[in-house]
Amino acid sequence: MSQITFTLLVSAVIFSVGAAGVLLRRNPLVQFMSIELMLNAVNLALISFAGSMGTAEGQIFVLMVLTVAAAEAVVGLGIIVAMFRKRNRIDVDDIRSMDG
Amino acid sequence: MDFPLVSLIIFWPLLGALLLIALPKVAARSLFWLSVFWSVVEFGLSVGLLITFADGTKTGFHWNEKLEWLKALGMNYQVGVDSISAWLIVLTTFVTMIAMFSSSGVQGRPRLYWAWILVLETGILGVFAATNLLNFYVFWEVMIIPAYFLIGQWGVTDQRVKSALRFVLYTLAGSLLMLLAMLALAFLTVPAGGAPTLDLMVLRTRISGLDSTTQAWLFLAFAAAFAVKVPLFPFQAWQPDAYADAPTPVTMILSGVMSKTGAYGFLRFGILLFPATSRDFAPLICTLALISIIYGAVAALGQRDLKRLLAYSSLSHTGFIVLGIFALNEQGVNGAVLQMVNHGITTPALFLALAALSNRTGTTEIAFMSNLESRMPRLGALFLILSLASMGLPGLNQFAGEFLIIGGAWDASPIYAIVAVVGVVLAAWYAMRMFQSVWHGPKLAQEPPNRNKALDMQPIELAVFVPIVLLIVLLGLAPSLVTGVFDATVRDWLNSGIAIASGR
């Protein structure tokens, strides 16, 4: 097993764990963290591929992901804070004024 | 290019509708007369169109117009009239005129009502004039919308909204299949390196290149749309409710001309477009038509409500028309077209007479009416004449059509004719049951609640009905006035159809 294969497998596992985390956790913050895990897995995959390719493209992609993740964190956390600041329980299952 | 007479005829009512909507606040009375005027002019125009075909020698489409619309699908705005559609156009304008004339007393937003009727007229006329398949489809659907609003908004029972919606959905389900068939047709018939076309006459020559299975599927899809519209037996569930719930002038148009659009579709896009396939499917369609004839007649026999009774009788009669078309011989087709005209006169007149009756008695239930003839002898006589015409009394208009249809059916297969005449006998039964139970019979012990206006026919009603009755007698005595116009066309069609079919 080569190095890249290994890192790719790691990224796959982290990605899956992140995906499961979004579904499992009721705390929106942790859900968001899980999404960040998924993004990290993407980054790892990109770097793995990039490392084997010898071009900067993958790394630039990673940079884009990082930047966007940061922006998303700002907005997302802002939304979460706005949503939950007045609530006692921090639980996404309480957010359910619309359904059907 | 000729003078765009056909377009003028198609869009003149639409123009009137727009005018009606756009006019500032005017008294409803004057708006009514405006719409009547509009429909009378329209009738005049269409008669003018018919006159150009009167000598009966013109075959094929005339007054053709063509504007490119959507080339990718082979769609054009393309209209043209042959001697068959010329008659149906005149029928449409005639019935609409009568309907308009009789819709003076409409309650609630009459302006829109009249406008919708005019739009409906445009849609129906477009169907009869379109010579491009998708253009036909467009008009076909355009018919639905005004009919929907007219039934749903001005209908007479509590069920009207449901009936209207059912009408739309049933029709749509059928016609969407037709749309698919049209689209498939456009692409399947593209010659190598050519562009798709849905021009009826071009397509007709191209279609023989398709294998028979494909043609069969396409034909069935077309038939679905038409069978719903006519309606034919298993697809009739929308019809009694829609006819019964619509306001009477609208029922007149529905029964008088809109049901003809389905038959016309069978005629033009069934047997003209698929000469070979329609031969294959003629037994099936004829069987359905026969079931409709018997079913409609038997159901009419049991109805307690006159409007529903007429709806079922209409089902039975349109069955005859379809039977004639799929007899696939000159007698049958001639008779079918003739019957379209005849039925288009008789049935609306019956509905109109029924409206006159129910205005006076406040009901359409048979149980609440009896022995009315001594009170309103003229209306009774009118009913009698119309009932007799509707049951196909020899000498009145529907007889000639039924004669040719059943004759054509006999020529196709005696079984068809024998079953069909059972329908004729049943027609006599229910027509007379209808007539007698209302006009004869013992006096009712209990008078219906609203019978204050039990007057006989008024001059204005006579002015409407006398011409209709005269027409019924005239067409009964001289049906060649009608058939003579399109006889040559039908022959031309069938012969070329046979040529195409045998060339398969």
């Binding site: 190095q3 596992v13 579904l23 499992l24 940079l63 921090i90 | -």
Partner: protein, 169 residues
């Protein structure tokens, strides 16, 4: 040697990822996320992506995670234990489909690279300058100028968003 480090880091990354998901307290989750980020950053370094190593540390660990911790303390959520989830179906689905996803992805990778070594340049050797800051910079400002420029728009939107959300009473 390198293989061993790689292995350890990989295990660490996976374990910390699991930690993020499984830790009942959001603060612990954040800490686990930090651990995960760090292990990934070192992995980046091992993969000769020096700049990314730095960026990962600076942006993720330095900025995003701090923000997370800030919000976590702001909201101060109660502890939550996923095994007491009332929505059993959701939990079962999440776990099973998560495993399914993992299995599919792992399977795909093994199918792709398991038998044959990838036909890639040897990454353990001197991989040239691909990960270097210069090459990265040139690529970023020439060939990939547009995405880079567009990130400014992303950040602008984030800025406005922050203003909007912050203004809210």
């Amino acid at each position: 040697m390198e293989q061993v480090v790689l292995l350890i880091l990989g295990v660490l990354a996976v374990a910390s990822a699991l930690g993020v998901v499984l830790m009942p307290n959001a603060v612990y989750s954040a800490m686990m996320l930090l651990l995960n980020l760090l292990s990934l950053a070192i992995l980046f370094l091992l993969l000769h992506a020096q700049f990314m190593f730095a960026a990962q540390l600076v942006i993720y660990a330095g900025a995003i995670l701090v923000l997370f911790l800030f919000v976590v303390t702001l909201l101060n959520p109660e502890g939550e234990f996923i095994f007491r989830d009332k929505k059993r179906l959701q939990r079962a689905g999440a776990i099973s489909f998560g495993l399914f996803l993992a299995a599919l992805l792992i399977g795909a990778f093994i199918a792709a690279f398991g038998k044959v070594q990838p036909n890639f340049p040897d990454s353990s050797g001197a991989a040239g300058s691909y990960g270097s800051v210069e090459a990265f910079g040139i690529a970023l400002f020439t060939q990939f100028l547009l995405p880079f420029e567009l990130t400014s728009l992303v950040l602008l939107v984030a800025l406005i968003g922050a203003v909007v959300l912050g203004k809210r009473k």
